[in-house]
Symmetry: C2
Subunit: 302 residues, 2 copies
C-alpha cells in the first residue's frame, strides 16, 4: 500500500524521475478493468463508487479508487474527501484510494490520471474506479481513459443541472439512475431514452440501470450491464479500438512533453524565452513566427 | 463582418493556413479590452452578455461576443445559440457574435479561443466579451485569456450548483450577483464575502456587483467596477503580468503544435505511428520510451 502511494506521488507530476518508474511499470499493465464514473454534482457518485468497491471486494477482487476533481484548484477538498473515504475502507488493504485535484500536473490532469492508472494496474488491482465530478472537456478526457464509462444521473435535479447532460451524453456506455427510490425517476429515465433515440451514435445502445447506492440496491444489475457492454465491445472490436486510442494519447502526451523539454534544453533558455515574450508584447513578432524561430534553431525547419 | 467571420472560420482549427493569417493580424492586436464571463448554468450569463453588449454599443464602442461551450461536443447547441443571439443584434453591424463548441480544435479549445480573439482584436473591436459555461479547467483556461474575469452567480441555485463555485473562486476579478431582484440575494453575497475572507489570494479584493440583466439594472455599476479593477491592476503591474502570461501561453501552444508537426514530417509517419502503438499495445515498450525513440530519430536526444 505505502509503496503504491509513494509511486503515485512520484508519477502524478510527470517529471523526469517519474518517467523511469512509468517505463518500468508499464509492462505489467493491461489486465485491469478501468471503470469511469462521471455525472453532475449531487448524483451520489462517491457513494456509488464506495459501495461498488465494497461489492467488488466481496467478490474477492482488489480495487483502486481514483477521485478526480477538476473544479478544485487546490488539494484541500481532495484531501478531505480522501480522509472520509479512508474511514470506510480503513481496515481493507484490498482497496486503494487516491484523490486528485486540478493544479500542478505537468501535461494536464488527464495525463496525470493516466499515470496513476498505470501504477494501480501494475500493482495488480483487478478493478480501478475513476470518479470525476462535472462534465467539461477535462472530465471527458479523464473518462476516456476508462474501459467502460458510467454516467450517473439522479431524479429531481433542476433543469440547470440536467442541462449539463449534453456534454456527457455521448461518452456513456451505461447510464446509472441513482437514488432511484426518489420521485421523478421515471422522468429521468424517459429523458435519457428520448436523448438516446435522437442520438446518431452508432452501435451498442447504452443500458439504463437503476440503483440506490446507499442501500446497495442495483449493484449486481449494474455490474451485469457493464459485463454485457464489455462483451459486445470486445466482439465488435470497439474495446480494442478504445484501448489503442488511449495508448496513442499517452504516447502523444509523452512526446509533447519530451519535445518541449528538448526545446528548453537546446534553444529556449529562460533568457531566450523572456526575449521572445518581450517581442510578442511589443507586437514585433507573432506566436507562430516565434515558434518557427525556435524550431529553426533546433534544426527542424520544414 | 463577413471577412471577420471567414477569418475566424479559418483560424479556429489552428491549421497551417490559419497560422499565416494569425501572423499577419497579430501586429494589429493588443488594444482590445477582453472581458471573460463565467459561472454556473442558469446564472443568466447569456442575457448579461447581450445586455452588456447593447450597453457598450450605446457608448459608441464596437463589440465582439465569443460564446464558448466546452460541454457541447458538437456544434448544434452553439449554432442554435448563435441564431437566437443574431436576432437580438441583427441590425447592428457593430456587434460580432461567434459561438464555439468543444470538438475539432487542434491544440484545444482555449488555444482556438485565443486565435478568435486575435481576429476580433485585429478587426478593431473595442471590447470582446468571452462567455463560457461551467467551471472546469477548460473554462479557467479560456477565461485566463481575458483582461478581466467576471464570475456570475445567482440567488437560489441549489447547493449542488453553488458547490461549483470553488473552482472559479480564484479567477474572479469581479463577482456579479445577477437576478438580484430574487429572494436569497443576501445569502449569495454573504457566501461570496465569506469565501473572500478565507481566501489567501493577495492584492485586490474582488468587488461584488448586483445586476438584473433582463432590466439593464446594474450594468453601469458593473462597468465601473471593471474600470476600477483595471486601474488598480494596471498600477500594480498585475495587468502587464497577466498579458505576458497570455502571450507565453499562446507561444507555448504554437510551439507544441509546430514541434508535433515536425515530428510527423520527419519520423512519425502514419505507418511508424501504427508500429509504435502496436508495440505499446503488446507492452513491448512504454509511452515515454516510445517518445524517446522519436526524439532520438529527430536528432534531439539529450
Amino acid at each position: 500500500m505505502r509503496s503504491v502511494a509513494r509511486a503515485i506521488s512520484l508519477v502524478e507530476d510527470g517529471e523526469a524521475g517519474a518517467r523511469a518508474l512509468i517505463a518500468a511499470l508499464f509492462a505489467k499493465t493491461g489486465k485491469t478493468l478501468v471503470l469511469g464514473i462521471t455525472g453532475p454534482p449531487g448524483a451520489g457518485k462517491s457513494t456509488l463508487v464506495d459501495r461498488l468497491a465494497a461489492h467488488l471486494r466481496r467478490q474477492g477482487k482488489t480495487v483502486g479508487i481514483v477521485a478526480v476533481d477538476p473544479t478544485s484548484p487546490y488539494s484541500g477538498g481532495a484531501i478531505l474527501g480522501d480522509r472520509i473515504r479512508m474511514q470506510a475502507h480503513a481496515t481493507d488493504p484490498g482497496v486503494f484510494i487516491r484523490s486528485m485535484a486540478t493544479r500542478g500536473h505537468l501535461g494536464g490532469l488527464a495525463a496525470a490520471t493516466a499515470h496513476v492508472l498505470t501504477v494501480l494496474a501494475a500493482a495488480g488491482k483487478d478493478v480501478v474506479l475513476v470518479e470525476t465530478v462535472g462534465v467539461g472537456q477535462d472530465e471527458v478526457d479523464i473518462v476516456s481513459a476508462a474501459d467502460v464509462s458510467l454516467v450517473v444521473l439522479v431524479p429531481g435535479l433542476g433543469d440547470e443541472v440536467q442541462a449539463l447532460k449534453a456534454g456527457i451524453m455521448e461518452i456513456a456506455d451505461v447510464f446509472v439512475v441513482n437514488k432511484a427510490d426518489r420521485e421523478g425517476k421515471e422522468r429521468v429515465v424517459a429523458e435519457i431514452q428520448s436523448m438516446l433515440s435522437l442520438s446518431s451514435k452508432e452501435g451498442h445502445v447504452p443500458e439504463i440501470v437503476e440503483t440506490v447506492a446507499t442501500d446497495d440496491r442495483g449493484l449486481d444489475t449494474l455490474l451485469a450491464a457493464v459485463d454485457r457492454f464489455l462483451d459486445q465491445a470486445d466482439r465488435s472490436g470497439q474495446l480494442a479500438h478504445k484501448k489503442r486510442s488511449q495508448l496513442e494519447q499517452q504516447f502523444r502526451d509523452a512526446l509533447t512533453t519530451r519535445l518541449m523539454q528538448a526545446a528548453r534544453e537546446r534553444v529556449l533558455s529562460q533568457a531566450e524565452s523572456k526575449r521572445l515574450v518581450d517581442r510578442l508584447a511589443a507586437r514585433e513578432i507573432d506566436p507562430f513566427s516565434a515558434a518557427e524561430e525556435v524550431v529553426t534553431k533546433m534544426g527542424l525547419q520544414a
